[in-house]
């Protein structure tokens, strides 16, 4: 089981803050994204934005990063603090 978090405008666009799901062992962030889109086709536009950032266990990663059971994954738009 992994948890997936969404932040800022992406959270509002998806109308979802957090979900949990089972993911086959050895899945990448890209595979997770494909599974999320398969479950929620309306999310396609938002999850395929080329500006999105991804983190696994609170560290920024690339889409090829492999996810393990128990990981906390987050999808979010470019950051705008400061």
């Amino acid at each position: 089981m992994i948890s997936v978090l969404f932040f800022a405008q992406l959270r509002e666009q998806l109308q979802c803050e957090k979900l949990t799901l089972e993911l086959p062992a050895g899945s990448s962030v890209t595979a997770l994204r494909e599974q999320l889109i398969a479950l929620n086709p309306a999310w396609l536009t938002f999850l395929t934005s080329d500006k999105l950032l991804f983190s696994v266990n609170q560290t920024l990663v690339k889409t090829s990063h492999l996810i393990h059971d128990g990981d906390e994954v987050a999808f979010f738009p470019p950051v705008t603090g400061g």
Partner: protein, 147 residues
């Protein structure tokens, strides 16, 4: 010291904490970012600041570690506010002390550039026309790439 907080900070108190009982620090650089009234032509009434609890602190610690590997920093303070802010309110404080000014200036500049492009904060502007999430800016990414 790193702090993510809703309440305001006192610049004088933060300055005093940075230099207290430390006569080796010949240079202190502080930066304060505030909510301004006009952004990209929009009349701003205030901001809402969202963050990713846990990752925010972790990413700031990593940014500080990177700065410490490049410059001789004696002490540092990073404070970032979250929640609802009004026009003119303080948003962020970065303070760095070092023996000489060059290192303190560079480290503070670096910390702000990296904070703006790597720490998971998001600003939503409240304007007269409604609320709008701020888009990231190319110039901030360019600034971070200088280092």
């Amino acid at each position: 010291m790193i702090s993510i907080q809703e309440h305001d900070f006192d610049v004088g108190a933060e300055y005093n904490a940075l230099i207290a009982n430390d006569t080796a620090a010949g240079a202190v650089v502080t930066f304060v970012g505030r909510v301004r009234d006009l952004n990209l032509g929009r009349d701003v009434l205030g901001l809402h600041l969202e963050h990713y609890p846990g990752m925010t602190e972790k990413s700031l610690q990593e940014i500080v570690a990177e700065a410490q590997s490049r410059w001789s920093i004696l002490r540092y303070t990073i404070i970032h506010r979250i929640g609802d802010l009004h026009l003119g309110d303080n948003i962020v404080f970065v303070g760095v002390t070092s023996a000489h000014r060059e290192e303190a200036f560079k480290a503070a500049d670096f910390l702000m550039d990296y904070l703006k492009t790597r720490a998971p904060f998001w600003k939503k502007e409240l304007t007269k026309a409604g609320s709008v999430w701020i888009e990231s800016q190319e110039k901030d990414e360019r600034a971070a790439k200088r280092w």
